[in-house]
């Protein structure tokens, strides 16, 4: 069962597009944070006391990044070719992009938390 899943994940397409999924989610969450604060200030005059929508959006962003990171983690553990890695084989490319995605997912995860913290702390529109 687990091996089947691993196989399935490793056979997923990997490209520069999948690489930028975590940072794009981070960017989208950043925009979302601004819009949420701006709309609240304009419509309500203050931040919501219980920012349910914001919490849901943040958790969603974190989950997507986590999923991208988990997939990348499995992919980058694919057994690779022998060094030197100079011929751009399929598996080397997979391992490289997957590892980069994993690192970006880590960065984006922290980034989303760093963006969300001020929104939760600053409850004031002034």
């Amino acid at each position: 069962m687990k091996e089947r899943l691993t196989e399935r994940i490793r056979s997923l397409r990997v490209s520069l597009w999948t690489l930028i999924v975590p940072p794009s989610v981070w960017a989208a969450h950043f925009l979302f944070s601004y819009l949420w604060a701006a709309l609240n200030c304009a419509k309500v005059g203050q931040f919501a006391r219980f920012p349910t929508l914001f919490a849901v959006g943040t958790v969603l962003a974190l989950l997507v990044i986590l999923a991208a990171g988990a997939i990348a983690y499995v992919q980058q553990a694919t057994p690779g070719d022998e060094p030197p890695h100079e011929s751009g084989t399929r598996v080397d490319r997979l391992r490289f992009i997957a590892k980069s995605t994993l690192l970006l997912a880590g960065l984006s995860f922290v980034g989303v938390i760093f963006t969300a913290t001020p929104v939760v702390f600053l409850t004031d529109c002034r």
Binding site: F121, L122, R126
Partner: protein
């Protein structure tokens, strides 16, 4: 060699000490907000020194240690912890510690509001005590200690920036927008604030005195500012009052209790009680007032007050005598 080193130390020390100034320093706070900022600054500074020292030691250690002391996984783990997880935790702690400082203190309807408008190159100040009509002054801000004060900041002509380093952080003054700065002065005394956004030729001459007073003294002072200007008491001062009207000063300045009511320039109703002229440019003396009246652009380049070089010295002195008496 030794002597040169010592001389250099003395010079550097003197320069650093010259920067110390308890009237206008974020490191000599007299309000709650500036105090918090100073604490955060000191924490950050000490932390940065410790981290920089630690990294230097680690580098020295790495250079001196023969290769192969760490296996690849050990090395990777070191990078992961000291290079990624450690800094993340550290930065997050700092973020969480500094965010509460950005949250303005709560203000109620019973708190004093002070409107400040930045003009080229002076400050229009309007006190709005709760339940009383506003009081307009200029170029000096007085605050009661132990009470919360809400500054309402805006730009009258162009963008300026309002900063009382000892009281709170700085805040831009933008035309058409009102920014809010909440502060709580704690130590009575005389301090100084400045404009910190370049706004023209005399930007560097756009400062103001800040006086933090005991609440009772503040209330008494504010009541005094609310009264009309005192009538001129001496002969020269009476002549000065006439010259003031005859020379068109009334076209720009207001003096409560007289016909002068224009708000183009600073309100002069109680200018004699201020300690400086021209937004901290000259001390409040008869000679300095005379000089400013005869040639304001010579004192403050770009100022929006014409020169009155055709006024005789005696006439300018008479006006100065009149203004000096407006306590």
């Amino acid at each position: 060699m030794h002597r040169i080193g010592r001389a250099r130390c003395a010079v550097i020390g003197a320069i650093l000490l010259a920067g110390c100034n308890r009237h206008q320093s974020a490191l000599a706070p007299f309000g709650v907000e500036a105090d918090q900022v100073r604490t955060l600054t000191i924490v950050l500074l000490i932390g940065a020194v410790i981290i920089a020292g630690g990294v230097a030691l680690l580098m020295q250690h790495a250079i001196r240690t023969p290769g192969g002391r760490l296996t690849l996984p050990q090395g990777m783990r070191l990078v992961l912890w000291l290079g990624a997880i450690g800094p993340t935790i550290l930065l997050f702690t700092l973020l969480a510690a500094s965010l509460p400082l950005m949250r303005p203190a709560p203000v109620g309807a019973a708190d004093l509001r002070i409107g400040v408008e930045g003009e080229q190159f002076w400050w229009r100040v309007t006190y709005r005590p709760p339940g009383q009509p506003p009081v307009v002054t200029a170029n000096e801000i007085r605050v009661p200690v132990g009470r919360t004060v809400e500054f309402k900041l805006s730009g009258g002509d162009i963008v300026h920036s309002f900063w009382i380093p000892g009281l709170a952080g700085k805040m831009d003054m933008i035309p058409g927008r009102t920014n809010t700065l909440v502060a709580r002065p704690e130590k009575p005394g005389r301090y100084r604030g400045v404009c910190t956004e370049f706004c023209g030729l005399s930007h560097a001459l756009m400062a103001f005195d800040v006086v933090a007073m005991e609440p009772a003294a503040f209330d008494a002072w504010l009541a005094g500012q609310r009264r009309p200007a005192p009538a001129p008491a001496t002969g020269p001062a009476r002549r000065g009052a006439q010259l003031f009207a005859a020379n068109g000063c009334t076209g720009c300045h207001a003096i409560a209790g007289t016909d002068a009511a224009s708000m183009i320039g600073p309100d002069l109703s109680h200018i004699g009680s201020r300690t400086a002229i021209g937004a901290g440019t000259l001390p409040m003396t008869r000679a300095a007032l005379t000089r400013f009246i005869r040639n304001a652009p010579g004192v403050k380049p770009g100022v929006r007050m014409p020169a009155y070089t055709h006024l005789s010295d005696a006439d300018a002195q008479a006006i100065a005598a009149y203004l000096e008496g407006l306590k």
